[in-house]
Amino acid sequence: MKNLVTSILIVLIFTVLLGIGYPFAVTGLAQILFPEKANGSLIRNEKGELVGSELIGQTFTGEKYFHSRPSAAGNGYDASASSGSNLGPTSAKLIDRVEADAETLQSENPSQKVPIDLVTTSGSGLDPHISPEAAEFQILRVAKARNISETDLRKTVAKFTEGRQFGIFGEPHVNVLLLNLELDKLNNK
């Protein structure tokens, strides 16, 4: 019986200490130290409207945009329902999807093989990045649609290409949303 009382008391104390005190402390400190990041690295346009988050990808289908990877989150890049496709390597659904996507993409740029990330969904379904190869693959199409030179476009892409963190960690990647926003901005000028 004593165990029961002790258990209840400890659960109560820990709920207050760890379940309320600790997250509030972290939130307080985070809001002071890194307010932007703590709130989701949000991006607003000139009008102050929220257009997305640096860290969350969006679907792009237009010719003039760099396309993100396929997404399995909701109806695509649903940031309130993150999810991978969870299709296994021998899944007919997966293979059909990859085949269809590959065919479409190949028709845009027949000279190159389709980079793998453009036909595969990410784990979160919200991957904000594509590989530099995937960006390069799309340059032909985007340059044509926007009527800008491939060289200029490459420069802009390079601006939004991040290398390995500290030169070691992760893989090089291009932020699709930031890149597309920049392209829109350039076009508007």
Binding site: L9, T15, G40, I56, A73, D78, T120, L126, D127
Partner: protein, 581 residues
Amino acid sequence: MNTFGWLQIVIYLVVLGLLTKPVGIYLTKVYGGEKTFLDFIMRPVENLIYKLTGVDAKAEMNWKTYGIAMLFFSLVSSLAVYAIQRLQGFLPLNPQDFSAPSEHLSFNTAVSFVTNTNWQSYGGEATMSYFTQMSALTVQNFVSAAVGMSLAIAFIRGIARFETQNLGNFWVDLVRGTLYVLLPLSLIFALFFVSQGVVQNFKAYDTANLVEAQTIEKDGEKQIVETQTIAQGATASQLSIKMLGTNGGGFFNANSAHPFENPTPFSNFIQMLLILIIPAGFTCTLGRMTRSQGHGWAVFGAMMILLIVGIVIAAQAESSANPLYPAAVNQSVGNMEGKETRFGIANSVLFAAVTTGASCGAVNAMHDSFTPIGGMVPLVNILLGEVIFGGVGAGMYGILIFIILTVFIAGLMVGRTPEYLGKKIEAYDVQMAMLYALIFPLIILGLTAVSVMMPETGLNSLYNQGAHGLSEILYAFTSATGNNGSAFAGLNANTVWYNSALGFAMLFGRFFMIIPVLAIAGNLAQKKYVPPSTGTFPVNTPLFTVLLIGIIIIVGALTFFPVLSLGGIVEHLQMLDGKTF
């Protein structure tokens, strides 16, 4: 995989190795009741807790008392988590107005977090309010880890002590582990994660206007989507303890693949490190507390080798092309389905091996979409008994069971009745160790077999068919029983059968296995000292390391080889053969 991939893996392993000793020494101090540099702040808190709860910090417990206290605490914890979920609608910090999860989901989740499994039949951002995440789930992230650590320490005490009943005081171990180890580290790393971009707020979800509105087809009708709802929440504070306590329950559905839960490669690196530092540190603690540092390192070696083997196999598998993909796809990178661009293959397989070697279960890539062999690595890691460093504490007591079996089988070969660190291993110890070794496959194989025999309740939940489908169910029960929590997530586990069956698998996989563990600890503590000599089976040599690995693999692999051959192995061969399902 490229050189950078291997380099990152090597750096990870080296840093982990370097951290093992300092962490181990610190753990020894904390559980030895010694002075630490945090005493100035934590001592008063600790004493206050004892005062409020009436715990006599000096009283020692025997294995039964220790176990009963642990069981009571876990029971009350489960009820609290269940209650908070069911009352979610009436509780504050619920900006999305989520209603209470169903009874079976609440049961599953309560059990899941109390057993340190953190299996999730739900998607966090669509189900749980901030209050539930904090006051129920985060709290259990701390204490279920602290319970595991307490049990490991009690077991080590059983080995280190002689002719006594005393294994320490559960309440003290629980409180000290939480206050001196988990809380301070979590606080620091939570802030670090925010610095990398992890969110930490209590806002309602944001709505962004899409840069390019999209037309989608839904239920046969075309719809135009112009906005994106961005889930928010107090993620960082839950994230650091999720990794450190090898809990693994994601704040978001996509877990550590979600950019808000793991924004950068460096945050990813630190997350992987947090998973293993305490389990690795425990090997050093084992060595120190039993005054046999060499043994601690031999155990560390066995765990490390198993981890590396898994990483290498998975890395090879995931770097290779899927022969079923059309030729137009450039697969030189490897299998990117279910993986994030910023992490690439190396960080995804490393994370998968680490999270399943330890019973963490957080994921930064979808195991379900791994290649057959690549996906078998996390599965086998769990099937080996969660001892590749294992969960905080759980990995330590798990490997101690394997050590007892190793010492018993191989120990005879030196011509003495088996002994381990100055204790004779006798019938009772073997009996309990075998019980432990038996419960694990019993739950996994039994429930998986029952599930595949039920076309409606069992197989309707399958998302993938063929051999991969078998792996999905097997993985679910393996993950639950091994208290891991990762999944072949295609399986729809949010059904009455799976929520209940997996819930029981988690309960049995935790508590039925803890009881023999404590019984052995109690029995060992009573034993007389048998001094080691050159005639004694040495437990601090590379040969011992090899033997231990052999026993772990034999007990694990021999039991599960048949089902694996119908799962991943046959799927791999079918994939090479060009078959789809």
